[in-house]
Amino acid sequence: MHNLVGPLLVVVLLFNLFLLGTSRLQAVINASATQGVLLGILTLCVHEGFSTWMVLITIVTILVKGVLIPGMLLRAIRDAAIRREIEPFIGFLPCLLLGALGTGASLIFARTLPLAKEHVGSLLVPAAMATVWTGFLVLTTRRKAINQVVGYLVLENGIYIMGLTLLHAMPFMVEMGVLLDLFVGIFVMGIILNHIRREFSSLDTAHLSALKE
Amino acid sequence: MPLLLLGIIGKTKAAFAGRVGPPLLQPYFDVIKLLRKGSVFSRTTTWVFKAGPVVGLVTALFAAVLIPLGGHLAPVSFEGDLVLFAYLFGLGRFFTVAAALDTGSAFEGMGGAREVTFSCLTEPALFFGLIVLTRLSGSLSLSTMIGPGLGQAWHHGGASLVLVSFSLFIVLLTETCRIPVDDPNTHLELTMIHEVMVLDHGGPALGLIEYAAALKLFILGSVVVRIAIPYSGNPWAGWGIFALGMVLLAILIGVVESTMARLRMAQVPILLVAACLLSAFGIVLVAR
């Protein structure tokens, strides 16, 4: 099933663009969730042969990235009763273009780096970079705090893809630790978001710029 | 001798004015008379006021000791006595002016202010001159500077010596408060420097001051004369020439006083700066 890797990665990239283009928060979150699930499947595909902890990682990944976190975020927006991202710092279209540009750039950049033989021609590295770039774009252009969490999630997804390149190098428990950290991180963010909502009765970061020179 | 100079000056001026004038020895009579008088003090004053004249006279005397008269070595001479020479006058000035301020009178304060202000400009002029002399004689003692050795100094540094003697002459006029800087016998206090400082002094004190002033004139005069007439040969002739020179100097001062008008106070600094520049130019000449 190794030949599935390429197509899956392309889908991931498409989701990146979708994330950049859409304004409805629910859609954004769902997209990120789907991306998470895809990553879980990718884990199996990248790794030839079958091993128990590989399956474990897959399951945990799908659970964390595809179910738990998106669920939390969805609840958050339900409580906050916000539907969509109004006017981001950069419009959706330019954002989309930037994303596409970034993806192209990461393809080129990955060329410059000498790849190990098994990854030559594989999309893993460029996809990782493109996803990281997407995450950054979301983080820096969106106004809603929740959206920034999503951006962070996407960023992590990109890094996860990079991690796939050295599945053998990274011991099991470290993987677990990373996933756990991610989860707890998002969890704490969720708590803070909750406080923010109660404090300012909104999740707009405009309220969060009181501290400045 | 010092007071005689005053007499000569007086005579000259009288002659210019077409009068007979007071006798040559008149200043002596004045001083003696003053010394006999009783004294009057302002109740504002303190001991500083009484100290003023004494210090003035003593310092003048000490300065006189350092001066080589007419080509003869000074009674006291050592490396760097020229500094002592200049600073002794400084000490005298300090106390004279302090005494003036002691009276708390506006006019005397004014006089003191002018005195110190102008001395700030005469001192550099004096030292420029001294530098030239050091340069020419290669020595740091007045006796060798303007002593016997001065003769051949004229050969290689003549031009600058002329400049120096001229600027020293201006210094002399200023220090001894003569026209064109100050008018010793005007009647308007506002225009005076030295005289107004000593307004409140009377009797013996005034006498001391008069004598000290004359002595100062004599000392500076002797330096100027020596530089101008660097004769060194037969000692007696030396004395004679020196005396003659002093008389000429006195007459010259008299002439200046009776021909020139007193400068406005604002213009005096310009004159003095000019004096500084003259001797500075003298340095540049010997620098070649």
């Binding site: 710092f89 950054f136 983080l139 | 009783g38 303190t46 304060g109 202010a113 110190v116």
Partner: protein, 617 residues
């Protein structure tokens, strides 16, 4: 504290007697060695430090009583001791790190004691300026010692290997800025007037008398590392000295606040010291031992003397301040009747600082003069020109100082009091008078018996330039003549005074009011005020002083009461530095928008940094 100081003096005198004593312990800090060495130069300074601080602390008992200053009395005493300790340490340190430690202890303790009354706004501002200046100095010293280490490879005050010209130049410039700031050489004097003015008087005495000399010590110490300095070093230092001297005294003349005035005179005297140092440098680069001996001897002796008479002046000024609670010269007057001893002390100090015989100031200035004249008699043109311009400059400085001190002494002590407070002033307590008496005595001692100190100076000269140990100061300078004539002068003055007294006893003198040329109602306000006294001179120097003169013309039959006033701010500080600082602050304000609270912007910074680094690679 006094006891400790006395012990210090004894120790230092021993050190003078014996060849250079020294401790050398390991000191486990990077580059540190606890190396204490007292050579001729250090000894001079040590004695002075302990002497002045001992006297000052006695004075403080009367001047800064715990009962009068419950809040900061103890504090001031503590830091007073710390300043002394720091100075003693840095003067004896043979290791640069140790030097820095002493230096900074001194600087910080000085800051803390001069801001003793930090509830006053001006004191706080002054303290700030002082602290900034002293920090700049410290940083220059950091750099200088770093270069020195790079050049010599060790942390001691000893050039183990010859220093390259480039490094030497860097060291010179850094030293001039660093030590010059502390010493208050003219363009770098900005902190000095305010600090001296608003510190407690015995602290000002210590600062002006000793602390700023630490800058001089540093210069001397650093220059001693260079056996063959280039010619222009000496000329540069000489020039700095002239500028500092002339402008310092010019600023002094124009002051109304007598402590500020004294502070500017410190700038002037530092100038004179620098002139001496410059002569010594010239001499060293020419290998002319006479110049070295005269210049350095004069400079160091003047360091000493200035410590004495400036200490004396500040202490007596403090006693006036203590009695009248004003620093305005034009509010004083007639104090000679009310506080005779203070007046006498101030008079002695004034005569000394003007460099008039027979007091100590004259001796040191004489040495510097001799050095200048000698350098003027040297063959080389470029060189003797500097000397030739130096001597008249020194003469000008002397004359100006005389004018200034006649003015301030006259205005403060003579004439009639100009204000009510002044009229009710009383003489200060014994604690205040005794130290002044001691200092005055020293002024006379050094002035009349200069040959006593000559050997000490010789030792210092040897320590400074070991390779040029030709001539003894006694041989070069007419010290015996000076003491002879000085003694005679004093004698003559006493005799004259006796004569006058007898004369007066014979002919009883009558006392009347001052003759005021027929004015109807002469009053104290008609006296010549200090600003009027200085008017002409300030005018002469207006190009540098930039005085703000208000000279209202009084027209009409019955003009309103008007006053002639002229105020001179510190040009360098108020017209150059502060505006520049404000400009810089405004420029920095402009960057504030970077930190504007928007998370997105912050994350963008991170992204940009990443990209920049990637492309830079």
């Amino acid at each position: 504290m006094v006891v400790g100081a006395l012990c210090g003096i004894v120790g230092a005198s021993l050190a003078i007697a014996r060849p250079s004593a020294g401790i050398d312990l390991g000191w486990p800090v990077p580059g540190g060695r606890f190396a204490i060495r007292i050579d001729g130069i250090s000894a001079l300074f040590v004695i002075q430090i302990f002497l002045i601080s001992a006297l000052g602390s006695v004075y403080g008992l009367g001047y800064w009583k715990q009962s009068e200053h419950p809040r900061d009395g103890r504090k001031v005493r503590l830091f007073y001791g710390l300043i002394t300790a720091g100075m003693a340490l840095l003067v004896c340190a043979h290791n640069t790190m140790l030097f820095m430690a002493g230096w900074e202890i001194m600087a910080m303790a000085a800051f803390l004691s001069l801001t003793a009354q930090d509830d006053q706004r001006t004191v706080r501002e002054v303290g700030y300026v002082y602290m900034v200046a002293t920090r700049l100095a410290t940083l220059c010293l950091f750099a200088m010692f770093a270069v020195l280490f790079a050049a010599t490879g060790n942390f001691d005050f000893a050039a183990s290997r010859p220093i390259t010209p480039g490094a030497a130049t860097a060291i010179l410039l850094l030293a001039l800025v660093g030590f010059g700031l502390k010493a208050g050489v003219m363009p770098m004097h900005v902190w000095l007037p305010g600090a001296h003015a608003s510190a407690p008087s015995h602290v000002s005495a210590l600062m002006s008398g000793v602390l700023i000399k630490m800058g001089i010590y540093g210069l001397v110490r650093v220059f001693s590392l260079f056996p063959h300095p280039p010619l222009w070093w000496g000329q540069l230092v000489l020039l700095l000295g002239c500028v500092s001297g002339i402008l310092g005294v010019a600023f002094a003349i124009s002051q109304h606040d007598f402590k500020r005035l004294l502070a500017y005179h410190s700038v002037e005297n530092i100038g004179i010291i620098c002139m001496g140092l410059g002569v010594a440098l010239l001499g060293r680069s020419l290998g002319n031992s006479a110049l070295v001996a005269l210049g350095l001897g004069g400079a160091l002796l003047h360091v000493w003397n200035h410590g004495m008479f400036k200490g004396l002046l500040f202490l007596s000024a403090g006693s006036v301040l203590h009695a009248t609670h004003t620093r305005e010269i034009d509010e004083l007057g007639g104090l000679a009747k009310r506080m005779p001893w203070t007046a006498l002390a101030f008079l002695i100090g004034a005569v000394a600082i003007c460099g008039l015989p027979p007091l100590n100031g004259f001796v040191s200035e004489l040495l510097v003069y001799l050095g200048l004249f000698r350098s003027a008699a040297l063959p080389k043109d470029a060189l003797w020109l500097s000397g030739a311009l130096g001597a008249p400059a020194l003469a000008l400085i002397g004359a100006l100082a005389l004018a200034c001190f006649v003015k301030v002494h006259g205005a403060m002590f003579l004439g009639e009091p100009r204000s009510e407070r002044t009229a009710q002033a009383n003489e200060s307590s014994r604690f205040i008078l005794a130290p002044m008496a001691v200092l005055a005595g020293i002024c006379f001692l050094v002035g009349v018996l200069p040959w006593v100190v000559a050997p000490i100076l010789d030792r210092a000269v040897v320590a400074w330039a070991p390779e040029l140990t030709g001539q003894r100061l006694m041989a070069l300078a007419p010290l015996c003549w000076v003491s002879l004539l000085g003694g005679l002068l004093l004698l003559a003055l006493l005799v004259g005074a006796a004569l006058v007294r007898r004369n007066l006893r014979n002919k009883p003198a009558e006392t009347v009011g001052t003759w005021d040329c027929g004015y109807v109602a002469p009053g104290p306000t008609m006296q010549y005020s200090s600003s009027s006294f200085a008017q002409t001179l300030v005018g002469l120097f207006s190009w540098a002083l930039r005085p703000k003169v208000s000279n209202p013309d009084t027209r009409g039959l019955f003009p309103h009461p008007e006053a002639f006033t002229s105020h001179v701010a510190d040009v360098v500080l108020d017209s150059i530095l502060i505006p520049a600082a404000q400009l810089g602050t405004r420029a920095m304000r402009w960057f504030r928008w970077v930190q504007r609270g928007s998370m997105q912007a912050y994350l963008l910074y991170i992204l940009l940094t990443l990209l920049v680094l990637f492309f830079w690679r």
